[in-house]
């Protein structure tokens, strides 16, 4: 790979837009090209500087105006038109800003997923939104697993693995309780840049692992997998690729703990 070729790939490599094969070729060429190595380092530093900027929050007045507009429409109680085929879910609490939060919740899905995937998914997204839209996103605020893990003892009937993933770019914010499928579950909240991730985690009925599958709907990304005897369900508004790296980071941390 000559320098113009590898220079043209620097940004796409950093942004995770190259295929696995292209990435491998780029990584192979990089040590032989100090110019591109410098450009990559520069782009990395810039990326972290930009992602470190404080997130903008819509002014209360703007939010109130939009909210008033939406309520005015609802108050007219016009019948839904035929194209309105989606079920209406009165989730008014979602009006609060959710876009800047990524929350990971850990919850019980054992055995019910194949038949009730849609409803379970809605419950998990709702759980994520509770984390993402509330100022009180977590019941126990700590990046220290030795604080979070004991907090769950006595509140739920199992002991979820709690790991801080800061070194993988997902610092642990804390944990909270939620209800999933009629059962109290533990939800861990992680942060990814300006986003939150909610991870619901429950004991699995089988010890065998299931690799992560990532799906998208309505702008939410959901990762579901089984690892180390636990069912993992993570919901966020990060990218699918980031969800995959979240899953593998968590799996590595769980494995290292055994």
């Amino acid at each position: 790979m000559d320098c113009p070729t590898c220079e043209s790939l620097v940004d796409a490599y950093l942004d995770g837009e190259l295929s696995a094969i292209q990435s491998a070729e780029f990584e192979q060429a990089l040590p032989g090209c100090p110019h591109c190595a410098t450009r990559l380092e520069e782009a990395r530093v810039l990326s972290s500087l930009l992602r470190d900027l404080p997130a903008d929050t819509a002014p209360d007045l703007l939010r109130a105006r939009i909210d008033r507009e939406l309520r005015a429409i609802g108050a007219k109680a016009r019948p839904a038109s035929p194209r309105q085929s989606m079920p209406r879910q009165p989730m008014r609490w979602m009006a609060m800003a959710a876009s800047l939060i990524v929350a990971v919740s850990i919850g019980w899905m054992g055995g019910t997923l194949s038949t009730q995937g849609g409803r379970d998914r809605d419950e998990l997204v709702a759980s994520y939104l509770r984390v993402a839209s509330s100022e009180h996103t977590v019941d126990v605020v700590s990046s220290d697993r030795h604080t979070v893990k004991p907090w769950f003892a006595g509140r739920i009937d199992y002991s979820p693995p709690v790991h801080d993933l800061t070194s993988d770019g997902f610092p642990l914010l804390g944990g909270r309780l939620d209800v999933f499928d009629g059962r109290k579950v533990s939800v861990l909240v992680y942060r990814r840049n300006q986003h939150k991730v909610a991870l619901t985690l429950l004991p699995a009925s089988s010890a065998s692992g299931v690799p992560v599958s990532v799906t998208q709907r309505d702008g939410f990304v959901m990762g579901q997998w089984r690892h180390g005897g636990f069912e993992m369900r993570a919901v966020s508004d990060i990218s699918p690729a980031e969800m995959e790296s979240f899953a593998s980071a968590l799996d590595r941390a769980v494995d290292a703990d055994r």
Partner: protein, 182 residues
Amino acid sequence: MSDALRPDSGTAERFRTVMLPHLDAAYGFARWLTRDPVQAQDVAQEAMLRALRYFHAFRGGPPKPWLLRIVRNTWHDLRTKRGADESLDVVEDRPADGPDPEENALGADRRRHVAAALAKLPTDLREVLVLREIEDFSYKEIAAALDLPIGTVMSRLARGRQQLAAELRSRLGRRDHGLPDL
């Protein structure tokens, strides 16, 4: 997008669920486009109302690129309507967004410089960088939001990063920006 419909209550409810969570992003993007908090509020409000009127045309997929595309078009329209874009040449350092007790003064100062350097970039480079680094959009999503070919997104990102690095080098000392020497 020519057929705006009067939204009904079901549409409003679904809009609340799907689009309203991205209000902060809409405002933030408008702020980076206008570089002015008051204009940003106007743009974001008009864009949200437009998005509501055209929400029946939303075909699923990620809602944020769809919404931010409307923000950008709205900004463009309002700017054209107002005539000359007087704000374009008047780039002021963005004021700090409120107190930031967690960070020391050095970090706050560095962020101010980073924000000011980004605000100084030409719009076509700035909007691509904002969507990539602040909204964390994929190239495909950026292309959709800005109505550009992916190749153009890539070349603008590369140019934007290089210009931003140059601007930061001239603003900050080596220790503060952490950028490698060229």
